[in-house]
Amino acid sequence: MAFLEVKNLKKSFGSTKVLHGIDFSMEQGEVVAVIGASGGGKTTFLRCLNFLEIADEGTIEIDGGFSFNAEKKYTESEIREMILRMGLVFQSFNLFPQYTAFDNVFIPMKLRTVERHKKDKSFDLAAALEENRERARYLLCEVGLKDKMQNYPWQLSGGQQQRVAIARALAQNPDVLCFDEPTSALDPELTGEVLRVIKELKDKGCTMIVVTHEMEFARKVADRAIFFADGVIEEEGVPEKLFEHPTSPKTAAFLGHVNGSLNG
């Protein structure tokens, strides 16, 4: 079995079918870029992987992690266990405005540590929390925000906010980290710093799925690109090949449109 394996994933909203049966798998350490027009189901796919939406049909499995089957009923805490295996970085950052960059990363970790301690008193809570603090500091340094830890989100640029959000998602040590158009809300001059962080994560072996419109980035960083159209994976392959020689007319039309709009 692959590291992450998704089979026949389906999701509808009312009478609108958004995902028509997605089969997808990836290996540990792999970086997959997801491209496609709006409304193609990319975001819904990520949201299903992170259980913000519960799929109507299909399975999601992580090797040595969890196994989700849409036919089964899960309790809220079982869903939370699975959520913690996945990470998600949003287009609009969604930092908590009342907390500093440091607390945005530390507080979610603290809540989980405290919960763990309630069930298992055998470890020292204070020491575990100190470890959490250390990890928050380490992660913020990793994304280049050593000097911004005590700043509030409104004091940070969009690019800095998104890097805090990445550190926050990494804090729970997810098996797969997902990005939903991480640079779409950023001014063009700020996208570079975020993409650089994602590139560095790849070099460290982080398993990632990145929904993006940045074709150059997808080409350079992703091991594989998948093209979503009308709720199915229309085509997938090595980015170079997919971008240069798409076999599906839909992919070709989309890429032509993107390139056209870039040149125009």
Binding site: L88, F90, N94, F96, P97, P108, L111, A169
Partner: protein, 214 residues
């Protein structure tokens, strides 16, 4: 009847004004939160019933509500069930809780969905999300409309005299029987001082919370 004597009488009245104000606030603030949860309930019948109730309470003058709550139990059961003061408190608490509930609802519904989703993907429970993420943002959002409502409450306490609860205006009017009008105008000083303190308090809270933006 000299200045000191009038001032003493007005201060006695002000004590009732303050009691009505404080008791209403202490009881209506939490009750309003409960009502707002009701009006936001996903169970439609509950939300409809609560919204209907809020419409009634906000749609009828508070003065009339005070009269109804004081007299109607008596008319139905033959004896006045509530003391005058308790009737005033019950009417005020219900009325203000409904207004507060709408302020809470606006504050809670105004929180972007992304905040809940971010909390969810970080593995927070619903209660953790409310406590650590949502609450402080709601407080900041509702501070200004709450300040308005609380200041209105100070002056609404004057409605208590409709069932002869002697608050400061009534205390001043008692002097009118002796042909003295100035005590009535003098009450404005007390109201202004009361509201002045509240204005400073809300200004202080706003400043306290200015370290973050929502």
């Amino acid at each position: 009847m000299g200045f000191l004597e009038v001032t003493q009488a007005l201060l006695d009245g002000l004590w009732n004004t303050f009691l009505i104000f404080a008791l209403t606030l202490v009881l209506a603030l939490p009750l309003g939160l409960v009502i707002s949860f009701g009006s936001m309930s996903k169970i439609k019948p509950i939300s409809y019933i609560v919204k209907f109730f809020v419409w009634i309470i906000r749609g009828v003058p508070l003065m009339l509500q005070v009269i109804i709550i004081y007299y109607v139990p008596g008319m139905l059961f033959g004896v006045p069930v509530l003391s005058r003061f308790v009737a005033v408190i019950v009417a005020f608490v219900i009325n203000y809780a409904c207004y507060f509930s709408e302020i809470y609802r606006g504050g809670i519904e105004g929180i972007p969905r992304g905040q809940y989703e971010a909390a969810q993907v970080l593995g927070m429970t619903k209660w953790e999300t409310f406590r650590t993420v949502i609450l402080m943002q709601v407080i900041k959002r509702i501070l200004a409309p709450m300040g308005n409502e609380v200041i209105t409450l100070v002056k609404d306490t004057a409605l208590a005299r409709v069932i002869m609860v002697v608050e400061i205006i009534q205390a001043a009017q008692n002097f009118a029987a002796y042909g003295l009008m100035w005590p009535l105008f003098y009450t404005a000083v007390f109201y202004l001082a009361f509201v002045g303190v509240l204005t400073l308090l809300f200004g202080y809270l706003e400043k306290k919370l200015s370290y973050y933006k929502v």
